[in-house]
Symmetry: C2
Subunit: 342 residues, 2 copies
C-alpha cells in the first residue's frame, strides 16, 4: 500500500474498439495519445466525498464522482473493497479469537479516507478512441496500486465498466479491456466477463480524428437490431480470420479479414469522406481499417511505418480538401495498458 | 502421372461441420469413420462417359456422374483440366514453333480417357458427418494424384463443392475444406474461396449417430433468415474465443466458447434427446459439443480419452433408454485429410 498523501502518476492509453469486424468484442490499445493522471489517498473530513476529482484540462468534465467516469469507476471499486474488507475483518477477528495472527492491518477505511484524482485529458472526449475508458481504467488501476493491488485486472475492468455506463449508457468493455490489459483483447463474454489476450505482430496504426461530433449513444441507436444471417456468417468468417491472422502473424490474412458488412455500412454515413478515405488509405498500402469505436475517428493498420506515414498523408489531404479540422496520430499497439510511473 | 489402368486406394475422412458456434465457416476432420475408394484412369470407348462410378456398398447411390457427388466433383475437375490443357497445348505449340522443347507430353486427353471410381461408403449417407463431402473430396484428391497433382488443395475444394451442391443444393465448403486439408479449418470466405488452417491441441471426439433422418435441405430451411444483433455479437465472441482457444491450446477457453445461441436452439428440436444428451455429456467432463453439421449426429470434444469414453457411455445410455438405434465413434482429429495409399 502507498502511504497517505503520496501522489502517483498514471498513463492511460487511447484504445480502438471493434477493430472493424469485431463489433463490441475486439479492441486494442495504442501508444499515442494517452491521458495523464495523478492520484493519492488522503484523510477526509466528515461529510466530504470519498472521491475528489480535479480536472487540469480545459474540457470542463463533471467533477461530481457519480457523473464523472473516473468517479463512477472508483465508487464501484470502493464498494467492493469495503464489502470485502468487512468480510476480511470478520475473518481476522475470528482468527484473533482463535489466537492466530491477522494479516489485515493494511485495510483502508473509506469512511475516513478518500481518493484525490487529478486528470489531464490528452485524449479528446468524444473522439472515438476511448477517452472515457482511459479515465475510468486509469483511475481504477491507480486506485488498485495505492491499495496494494488487492484486485485482479478482470476486477478492474468490471469496475471501470461503470464509467462507460456514465459516458454512454452501456456497460461495454471493448475499450476498457485493452486499456487495462494492453495489446489486442477479445471480450468473449460480458456476463460473466471474460477477456482473452490476443497476441499480435508489430502493427503501425494511423488515426485521424475529424473534428465533428458523433455521440456514442446516437451511433448505437442507428444500428439495426436485426441482421441477416448471411451477413452474420460473413462477419464471423472475418472475425475468425482476424483472430487467426493476428495469432499467426499473417499480415495478408489480417488485411483481408478487416471488413465489416454489418456496422460500417450504417455508421459510416455519420463520417464525412469515409468511403473516399478508405479507398485512399488502402491504395496507400494499409492492411485495412475503419471506424474507431463509434467514431468519428478512423484508424488504419499498416505493416510498415512508411506505409502508416503515407496513410497519414492521405488522411490530411482528404480532410484538408474537405476543409474539415482534424488531427492525426501515427503510433503502434501499446502492449502494457495503463501504467504507473514509479 | 499414374499409368493407365493402375488402381490407387483412397481414404476420405468423416468431418464435423460448424463446430457449434461456427455455422458455415468452421469444421474438422476425424480419423474414424472414413470412406474407402479406388480410382484409375482408363481408355474409354466412343460414347462412353468420362466417369464410371461403381458402388461397392449397399446404399444404392446414383451412378450417373451428374447425380453422384463424386461424379459432379470430377466433372468440374475435368472441365478445368481440359480448359487449362488447351491453353498449355497452345503455349506448347508456340514454343515448338520457336524451336523450344515442350514439357507437356503428360497431358491427359479426356476425349479418349476417363476415370473409374469404386466407392465403399463406410460413412453412412445422411448421418451428418460429411458423407457426401468424403466422396467428393476423395474423388478429386484421387484424380489429382492420378493426373500428377496439377491442382492445389484450394482448387480441389472448389471442385468438390460441386458435389455438395448435388447433395444439398448449396455449394458449401465447411465439410470439404477439413476433408481435404485435415485438421480444423476456417472457411473465411466462400467467394472468393479462402481456407485458413487452424492449429489445434490434441482433442478426443465422441460422435453419436442416432438413426433418424434429418435432410440437410430441411435443416437449412428451418433456420431464420434474420438474427438479433445481440445474439450475433454473442456468437462472434464465441467464434473468436474458439479460434483463440484452439491456437493457444487453452482447453477451458475452447469449452466455454463451444456455445451456439443462433442455430442450435432451432435445429436441436429435430434431434430427440438433444438437451438431455448435452447435459449428460458435459456432466461426464466433455469440453463441449453440439450438432455435427445439420445433424442428426452429435459430437462432443474431450481433453482426455477416458472422458471421451465416458461421454460415449452417456450417449449409449440415453439412446438405449429412448429405444433409438444409434452408432457411436470415439476418435481424434484427423490431421492429414484425404490420403492416397502408396
Amino acid at each position: 500500500m502507498v502511504p497517505l498523501n503520496q501522489w502517483i502518476k498514471i498513463k492511460a492509453p487511447a484504445t480502438v474498439a471493434n477493430m472493424v469486424c469485431g463489433f463490441d468484442i475486439l479492441g486494442f490499445a495504442v501508444n499515442n495519445p494517452y491521458d495523464e493522471m495523478e492520484m493519492r489517498l488522503v484523510n477526509r473530513a466528515a461529510g466530504q466525498a470519498s472521491i475528489t476529482i480535479i480536472n487540469i484540462d480545459d474540457y470542463n468534465l463533471p467533477t461530481d464522482p457519480e457523473k464523472n467516469v473516473a468517479g463512477a469507476a472508483l465508487l464501484a471499486l470502493i464498494e467492493e473493497y469495503t464489502a470485502n474488507s468487512i468480510i476480511e475483518k470478520s475473518l481476522a477477528s475470528e482468527s484473533a479469537s482463535s489466537n492466530q495472527t491477522s494479516g489485515n492491518n493494511n485495510l483502508v477505511d473509506f469512511s475516513t479516507i478518500g481518493f484525490e484524482v487529478k486528470i489531464n485529458k490528452l485524449i479528446k472526449p468524444g473522439s472515438g478512441v476511448g477517452s472515457s475508458a482511459a479515465s475510468s481504467a486509469g483511475a481504477v488501476v491507480g486506485a488498485n496500486y495505492l491499495l496494494g493491488n488487492p484486485f485482479s485486472k478482470d476486477d478492474l475492468v468490471r469496475f471501470a465498466m461503470n464509467g462507460e455506463k456514465v459516458a454512454s449508457g452501456v456497460k461495454h468493455a471493448d475499450n476498457i479491456a485493452p486499456c487495462i490489459h494492453g495489446g489486442v483483447t477479445l471480450v468473449r463474454s460480458i456476463f460473466p466477463l471474460e477477456i482473452v489476450a490476443l497476441p499480435s505482430p508489430t502493427l503501425f496504426v494511423t488515426i485521424v480524428h475529424p473534428q465533428i461530433e458523433v455521440r456514442t449513444a446516437d451511433a448505437r441507436s442507428i444500428l439495426k437490431q436485426n441482421v441477416q444471417l448471411k451477413d452474420a456468417i460473413k462477419q464471423w468468417g472475418n472475425i475468425a480470420g482476424l483472430v487467426a491472422g493476428l495469432m499467426k502473424g499473417d499480415y495478408d490474412l489480417i488485411g483481408r479479414s478487416l471488413e465489416d458488412v454489418i456496422i460500417e455500412p450504417v455508421r459510416s454515413i455519420l463520417i464525412p469522406g469515409f468511403d473516399e478515405l478508405k479507398k485512399a488509405c488502402k491504395a496507400a498500402g494499409a492492411l485495412g481499417g475503419g471506424i474507431s469505436g463509434s467514431g468519428p475517428s478512423i484508424f488504419f493498420l499498416s505493416k510498415e511505418k512508411e506505409t502508416a506515414l503515407a496513410v497519414e498523408k492521405e488522411m490530411n489531404t482528404l480532410y484538408d480538401g474537405l476543409g474539415l479540422a482534424h488531427h492525426t496520430y501515427v503510433t503502434t499497439i501499446n502492449q502494457e495498458g495503463v501504467t504507473i510511473e514509479k
